[in-house]
Amino acid sequence: MSAADTTTPTEVPPLMSVPPPSAPPTPRRRRGSGATPWLLLAPCLLILGLVMGYPLVRLVTLSFQKFGQSQLWGFLPADWIGFDNFTAVLGDGEFWTVVVRTIVFAAGCVIFTMVAGMLIALLLQRVSGWVKTLVNIALVASWGMPIIVATTVFKWLFDADYGILNALLSKLPGVEMIGHNWFASGPQGLAVIMLLVVWGAVPFVVITLSAGLTQVPAELEEAARLDGAGAWGVFRHVTLPILKPIIVMLTTLSVIWDMGVFPQVFVMRGGHPEPEFQILPTYSYDRAFVVNDYGQGSAIALITVLLLLGVVAVYMRQMLKIGEVE
């Protein structure tokens, strides 16, 4: 995702980490300070508890309640209805179509982002300094673009009548694209949105991977080359294993971000995504704020979070493994 969506920082581990000193590092931390750390943490935990903890609990309770417009205005109490919201959502064929569409969409975004990011990072190692600077400027500029601006610009690039893309494509012999509406069909429109997501997400991946690549020891690659490995062999057996922790982290983060794509679809479709454009985030939003069924909307959001739990677990395990969270 782009800068804005890069709301989550990630930590790049020192790749060739120094072997841990034999003495455990903890004694160097101040011990026996009793309440001090908790006092320092208190404001942070208080705020997170209010704006994150409470809503999270509320999300779960809501998904077991009948909660519509009347409950919102306080005319009616919220009734507990057990698993009714879930059975209604899971029993709806539409929901499963949306789930499959979301997974295909997110998988496409993640794969294209990671592959393009890797190729560009490798390319940047081979170009002259001035080309590298140019590419970096373009990448950081696209990374820094607010998602809304990027979406608006893509809408303009792909405009049916006056968009530059159709005009350029029509210059090819035998191609007549003027007036072609890219958003007439769901798959084509989502492909454009996927391009937008990938365009915004690649810079983060390239810059992180480039930082990682500088830490791959040249001697190792040289040794592999002397042993007769080709370019692919060196990459596959030397570079890739060393970069693996970074790649795992970038991939898990991308999955989480790309499963949560919302503004791109929402703004691209003028605030009312057609059924063919619905993915889980917009579907949950629709159910809550358009149909006014907050209970079912919450159930869908909760299912999305549960779907992501596995990915989050991989991410956390990686963070724990590289020792950043000791």
């Binding site: 020192p14 160097r28 999300l59 673009m145 893509f154 503004p263 703004v267 907050y294």
Partner: protein, 280 residues
């Protein structure tokens, strides 16, 4: 590659450079086209055979963009929200980052894992309960409500990023100051704080950019009359349809200050990244 003759190596370098320029053109094109459209005469923007090069320089689209809808109101509100979020986020975040990077205490790991996990929850999943919460607290359609909501993603970010910067400051410096008679607070203010300041600036700018760019919560938690800058742009369609040239002018006004800020701190954040510190 080392086996290639110098001429062959130069030729392959030229090939890579060409490919690099292609990447530059592709990645940079949307930004270029935004600027190109923003500054070209509005009638050239609806030329069915558009020219790739600039066709003239006008500021007409900018004044039109400012006419279509109030621009400075939303920008002012975005500024209030983003600056407040950064101020609170940095103050609260620094304290928390100190706690988890400089103290050993029971439950430290749980706190760290909790902060990491919190930022993994997609914002969109939280919008329904957050909306209801603000509704209950009478904070719907208030900037204060939006500010506190933005802390959900800004706070974990500042804590984790600042922690990375603090970890890189050697503890010996603080210890030496304390041996020389500084109190722990004095050691922090005189030794750690000056070293941490550049990292805090970079983190602040980065957090500012994130808050400024947020769309979903701004759309849902504020009414039309209180909209922020991102929502202003998202609604940029008049009853005459979409006027793309002014819209690109509006996009330019939104994006250029942010991209410049971003370019300024990107280096610093990237330096932290290679040092095994943090990146956002």
């Amino acid at each position: 590659m080392s086996t290639l003759a110098p001429a062959g190596r130069r030729r392959s370098k030229a090939g890579w450079n060409l490919l690099g320029l292609l990447v530059f053109a592709t990645a940079g094109f949307p930004v270029y086209w935004m600027l190109n459209t923003a500054f070209k005469p509005a009638k050239d923007a609806i030329d069915p055979d558009p020219s790739l090069l600039p066709t003239g320089l006008t500021l007409g689209n900018f004044s039109r963009a400012l006419d279509i809808a109030d621009f400075w109101g939303p920008v002012g509100r975005s500024l209030i929200v983003s600056l407040s979020v950064v101020a609170i986020g940095i103050a609260v975040g620094t304290l928390a980052a100190l706690a988890i990077s400089r103290f050993a205490f029971r439950g430290r790991k749980v706190v760290i894992v909790g902060i990491l996990a919190v930022q993994m929850i997609p914002l969109i999943a939280m919008i329904i309960p957050v909306f209801l919460l603000l509704n209950d607290l009478d904070q719907y359609d208030k900037l204060s409500g939006l500010i506190i909501t933005y802390l959900t993603f800004i706070l974990p970010f500042t804590v984790w990023t600042l922690r990375g910067f603090i970890v890189n400051i050697p503890k010996e410096l603080e210890e030496a100051a304390m041996v020389d008679g500084c109190s722990p607070t004095g050691a922090f203010l005189r030794v750690v704080f000056p070293l941490l300041a550049p990292g805090m600036v970079a983190t602040s700018v980065y957090a500012f950019v994130q808050a400024w760019n947020e769309y979903l919560y701004a759309l849902m938690l504020l009414s039309q009359k209180n909209q922020t800058a991102t929502v202003w742009l998202g609604n940029f369609t008049t009853k005459h349809g979409t006027e793309y040239a002014p819209m690109m002018a509006g996009s330019t006004m939104m994006a250029v200050p942010i991209v410049v800020l971003f370019l300024l701190v990107q280096r610093k954040m990237a330096a932290g990244l290679t040092a095994g510190a943090v990146k956002g």
